[in-house]
Symmetry: C2
Subunit: 338 residues, 2 copies
């Protein structure tokens, strides 16, 4: 008697988004249609790699258990674990080469997780995963060549070419935060000058707002932080902009101009059909995306900007997990997920 | 009786490099090992598209004739014609969409050439072809992910990903001359500000030299152009730099810094294993490449710059033709040439 091949919606992959702050885990069906057992816990990197690994493995095993019960599938329905890890990773050897947030250097993540879960494990960079997630099930769905920019504390990025994550020659492609937009400009955390990240990251947005407040008395921003300027974050700026605060709106427009110059660079070189901008910055909404699209149109070639839509991410909080699953599928089969 | 399959060194493709100034044509064997019947004639675009097409077809037919004789092969040994055309092209429809140098707009180049030569014809952008030529048989040989920058009057570029030319979503990828390196900087011919081309093109190099001469009395540059500053070209600057002229050397070093900032951008995003810099600028030799490599190392991530060699092109004058042949092979078979 021939065995039946299980259908794609009853086979599962566990996606893990390993962040500096939180670990997020979910089970997803191979066809992307079903999500089970989502959990989030603090990473607590300070407790050391062994504790983080143990926590992550326990979460994966719990998610497997929940999914078996809720979806009514056996253990054999789980094909493996995809992990999006911060920093540089070597997909071949399964090692995290350098993740400064976690203080992990040359760490055998795949080997350790495979031991503790009994499942095949694949890793990829977290920003690559976030972009791949938005491509598979989010805002960049249907795109062929996609650039993802995630604006959080820093500016991360990922590149998809012909429906697969592009990793470059040493697994380090996509450092979109570190393209130079002003070669004599602001010093960046990376040591270089004028990087996009030095202007458009969450920290840079907050810093530019604090600087602008030195010459302004009408903004509502100080009142939102009880007068303590050190408490101003990008989120506070977006919130003030939403209330129509002139200074906050100008900071958002300026951010759009910097980001627009960076994206126009990438458009002229990559000619993508979608750019997806994700992270906290999407809270600024049209106050950001309007001037951003204008700036890109102004700077990029017409045939290039006409071919490209610029959209906010639609999977906040889950893009990383979804993309880790997509990356597992792509690395295992050599093809993008369906 | 079964027919014998001809060996790759006795099958030929005609490569055409259609430039604004000259048309260059050669026959090349499928394996890249043999070159026959090379010719160059002025384009004379001013005579109109019909005259240019007729000239190009005549050159192709002459090259076919010469190759038949010299290589001792029949007409059936010629598989087709690859053409590198300036401006934007649509490979699918075989049309040149816009080639301002030739004043061609939406011109059916493939159809017209196929009629006049009786051979299958494929087109690609000329800068893509130049990069692909350097990859196939020149300085970028053996590379997997390659960026080509050609510095002539302007700054052209091409991108190779996984051994094939990357064209982007609307056949417009690779406009490396128009990445922004200083968002408040020099006005570029494209209408934008601070493009790499506005600093590092041949015309920009000459212009920066003329500007620098306003405050300099010791340079040999004026003596090389009989005191007529308007006759200063990039080539004159490289020549003066070769003689150790301090002002010319500073212009070359400055060019290296601008180009280095632009290339570092691309390295952080693309993580290529080779960057090939071609065009007149290679005449400046180590005076350019030394500081260029230093600037890239200073600005790009270490893991990224360690993975990449930056080399001068080694096929001056022929990269375009070689790449047009490679592009024909790639477009016809779906695989890069062997």
């Amino acid at each position: 008697m021939a065995s039946t091949t299980p259908s794609p919606d009853s086979q599962f992959i566990i996606g893990v988004d390993l962040g500096g702050t939180n670990i997020v885990v979910s089970a997803m069906s191979l066809d992307g249609s079903r999500l089970f057992g989502s959990q989030s816990e603090p990473t607590l990197a300070i407790e050391g790699a062994d504790a983080v690994i143990a926590r992550m493995a326990r979460m994966v095993n719990t998610t497997v258990g929940i999914t078996m019960k809720e979806a009514g599938v056996p253990k054999s329905a789980f094909l493996g674990v995809g992990i999006g890890a911060p920093g540089t990773v070597d997909r071949e050897t399964g090692r995290v080469l350098a993740a400064p947030n976690l203080k992990w250097y040359d760490f055998p993540l795949v080997e350790r997780m495979a031991e503790l879960t009994g499942l095949p494990v694949k890793i990829d960079n977290d920003a690559n995963c976030a972009t791949y997630g938005e491509w598979w099930l989010g805002a960049a769905r249907g795109g062929r060549n996609v650039i993802g920019v995630t604006i959080g504390t820093g500016v991360g990025g990922g590149i998809i070419i012909d429906r697969q994550v592009y990793h470059g020659s040493s697994d380090a492609a996509g450092e979109i935060g570190h393209i130079t937009i002003d070669l004599n400009g602001r010093r960046c955390g990376c040591g270089n000058y004028g990087c996009l990240e030095a202007y458009a990251s969450g920290s840079a947005i907050a810093e530019r707002a604090r600087e602008a407040l030195l010459n302004d008395e009408s903004s509502v921003l100080p009142s939102l932080v009880n007068g303590d300027h050190s408490k101003i974050t990008a989120a506070v700026v977006y919130s003030a902009a939403g209330q129509g605060d002139a200074l906050a709106l100008e900071i958002v427009r300026e951010t759009a101009r910097y980001l627009g110059a960076g994206l126009a660079n990438l458009l002229n070189v990559f000619n993508p059909d979608v750019v997806v901008v994700a992270g906290g910055v999407t809270q600024a909404g049209e106050a950001l995306f309007g001037p951003l699209r204008t700036e890109v149109r102004r700077r990029a070639f017409k045939s290039v900007s006409d071919a490209c839509r610029i959209v906010p991410g639609t999977l906040p909080g889950t893009a990383g997990v979804v993309g880790a699953v997509a990356s597992f599928i792509s690395q295992t089969t050599g093809h993008p997920p369906a």
